[in-house]
């Protein structure tokens, strides 16, 4: 080495560095060796249970298909930097973002500077900057939503995907605007909500896929879906008219449910009464008939006596129950001459007969 005789200038400059290295090695060679080993092991990474890791070697993704790129939870062996870089992505965690782009700012979407100078918001109109959507039948509604999402393609999302909140906000908004634009306001506000959500979710996911965001929309929820504030009373009036109509129908049904059985009851009672009356009448008739037949048997045995008795009983009964009885002699020569009878309450007691 000495014989090679390199330029003495370099040797002279390198001498202190060489001395430093020599000295360091002699004093702390264990320490340096440990550091070197630790550096070589620094590429080994622990991937947590809810994560997936991908390896970048010289910046390039290792593996040609997603299944080979992604490494599940556990110990992952990689070279130390700067050769390999391990990127871990939480794929199981579901995050959420509120989408208030279609919510009127007055109802709590955030404060706009132009709203501040007028304390009472103008209810007769809406600035286009206020969030709202137009339904298929040209009504205006405000919508606020909650989107929940998670990472589906870790590599795509981590290196190429747009910012999650941004892409979700615009995709969900566009999907909702479009879905509302093909439905009527009455469906949307009443029984069509599920359908609306289903359509918007499908569209938003299609959008997220088309823009290769690597995100999955796990759920889309409506926080609120309301008509404009100025029209709330009118919408409520329709609702209450509907309820009122239903109530009227219920009352009518209740009336029907009582009136028909009542009529049936009345009819049944009348029939029962008629039957009772009929059987009573029949019983009396049978009794009378039996009595008559008994009398008849007796009469056949002793016609004169029975007839006489009956006659006399009747006449006595008649005389005793009559209020006034007057006796006249039999006519002389077949006719009454100068015999007058006056009838009246005043004369009933005495002077009914004058003379012959």
């Amino acid at each position: 080495m000495r014989k090679l005789g390199p330029p003495s200038e370099i040797r002279r400059l390198a001498a202190p560095v060489a001395r430093l290295i020599d000295g360091a090695w002699q004093r702390m060679h264990w320490w340096i060796a440990t550091m070197a080993v630790l550096y070589l092991l620094s590429g080994i990474t622990i991937v947590k249970p809810d994560e997936v890791a991908v390896i970048l070697r010289w910046g390039r993704l290792v593996g040609s298909i997603p299944a080979l790129q992604q490494h599940g939870p556990g110990l992952l062996f990689a070279f130390p930097r700067p050769v390999d870089e391990v990127v871990r992505v939480q794929v199981k965690r579901v995050s959420e973002v509120q989408v208030m782009t279609l919510m009127s700012t007055a109802a709590g979407g955030g404060d706009e500077e132009d709203d501040e100078d007028e304390a009472v918001p103008d209810l007769t109109s809406l600035s286009p900057l206020q969030g709202y959507a137009i339904t298929g039948d040209h009504n205006i509604v405000h919508v606020s939503m909650m989107a929940r999402y998670r990472v589906r393609e870790p590599a795509e999302w981590a290196f190429y995907g747009a910012k999650s909140e941004d892409i979700l906000r615009v995709e969900v908004t566009a999907a909702m605007v479009r879905s509302l634009g093909e439905m009527g306001v009455d469906r949307v506000l009443a029984d069509g909500r599920k359908d609306l959500i289903a359509r918007a979710t499908r569209r938003a996911q299609a959008g997220l896929d088309a823009s290769r965001s690597g995100l999955e929309l796990t759920s889309l929820e409506l926080i609120s879906l309301t008509p404009p504030q100025a029209l709330v009373a009118d919408f409520d009036a329709v609702q209450s008219a509907f309820i009122e109509a239903e109530t009227k129908k219920k009352f009518a049904q209740a009336f029907a449910e009582s009136a028909i059985p009542e009529a049936q009851g009345g009819a049944d009672a009348a029939i029962q009464e008629a039957r009772a009356q009929a059987s009573a009448d029949l019983a009396r008739a049978n009794g009378d008939a039996a009595a008559f037949l008994a009398l008849d048997r007796e009469y056949r045995a002793n016609p004169v006596v029975v007839r006489e008795r009956l006659y006399r009983d009747a006449v006595e009964q008649a005389i005793s129950s009559a209020g006034h009885v007057r006796w006249v002699p039999p006519p002389v020569g077949g006719s009454y001459h100068g015999f007058r009878i006056t009838i009246g309450p005043a004369t009933a007691a005495g002077g009914s007969s004058e003379d012959r």
Binding site: R60, E85, P128, T247, A252, L295, V325, R326, V328
Partner: protein
């Protein structure tokens, strides 16, 4: 330790060589190696003039400074929302639309030349997008955007038209690849909103009136049906009652008739006696001949 102590000269020489080589390698790498990460691109300039863009992730090389220089470019997708722009549809309706694009650097070289590495691509995109939106929506009716009739809607077509009219221009002029364009919002000009409100209000009132009338109608229908049914039930009851009564009367009459047939004369006699009993009341005046039945006894005695 023993080994190293044995030949300290040798060890020292190796060590020095290793450290020296490592240091040289590191210096050379930092000057000439370019690591392009996924999601990034590197633009290489030679003496300040763009030479090439390394868009493929991995290890690339360049000449050391000051000959070559590298600039980092973000290749991620980005979202850009245009402003709210008022436009006219084919059926002359004013509408305010906002679109968004998902874009990324498509041609790194063209992008840096047009916009620069840190430049504002979105400001340039805005004009392009707004013009495309005005042009495209002007060729469609409002019902292509919002309608309850599915056959009117042409949003997919409109978005496809927007993409096809902007994507080639954006790539050619700015090196920007537009991956997606969508209509994000539709709104009405502020001065038209109150008319829409009026129309909505009228519609609501009409609905309320309709519900009210329908409820009334339905209720009265239910009521009158019930009344009819009740009347029908009552009539049936009355009919049954009359039938029962009639049958009973017939049977009674038959019973009496059967009894009479045994001895009509006696029946007639007893009936007249009964009638007599019924007819004579306390207010009745009876005028009897003295020779009639009970007293004829006395009379005849006198006369004899």
């Amino acid at each position: 330790m023993d080994k190293s102590l044995k030949t300290p000269e040798q060890t020292q020489r190796y060590l020095r060589a290793a450290v020296g080589l490592l240091a040289l390698g590191a210096i050379a790498f930092s000057a000439m190696g370019v690591v392009v990460r996924e999601g990034e691109a590197v633009l290489i300039t030679r003496f300040g003039r763009p030479l090439r863009a390394d868009t493929q992730a991995g290890l690339h090389w360049k000449l050391p400074w000051p000959i070559d220089q590298s600039f980092l470019l973000d290749m991620r997708r980005r979202v850009y929302e245009t402003g709210h722009t008022e436009m006219l549809t084919r059926d002359k309706k004013n509408i305010i639309a906002r679109t968004f694009v998902v874009w990324r650097v498509g041609d790194a070289l063209a992008f840096t030349q047009a916009i620069g590495t840190q430049g504002d691509a979105e400001g340039k995109l805005d004009g392009l997008l707004t013009n495309a939106a005005i042009g495209t929506l002007g060729g469609h009716d409002l019902s292509a955007l919002v309608s309850t009739n599915p056959s009117d809607l042409q949003v997919d077509q409109i978005e496809a038209e927007l993409l096809s009219s902007t994507a080639p221009v954006a790539l050619h002029n700015y090196g920007v690849t537009i991956e997606q364009i969508r209509l994000e919002r539709l709104a009405l000009p502020q001065e038209n909103v109150s008319a829409v409100f009026d129309q909505m209000r009228a519609e609501r009132r009409q609905f309320a009136a309709k519900f009210e009338a329908e409820g009334e109608l339905e209720a009265s229908r239910i009521r009158s049906e019930a009344q009819l049914e009740a009347a029908r039930t009552q009539a049936k009851g009355a009919e049954e009652t009359a039938r029962v009564r009639g049958e009973a009367a017939a049977q009674v009459a038959k019973t009496y008739a059967d009894a009479q047939k045994v001895d009509p004369a006696l029946y007639k006699f007893t009936r007249s006696l009964e009638s007599l009993d019924k007819l004579v009341r306390s207010g009745t005046s009876l005028i009897l001949r003295t020779d009639s039945e009970p007293f004829s006894l006395l009379e005849s005695k006198d006369q004899k």
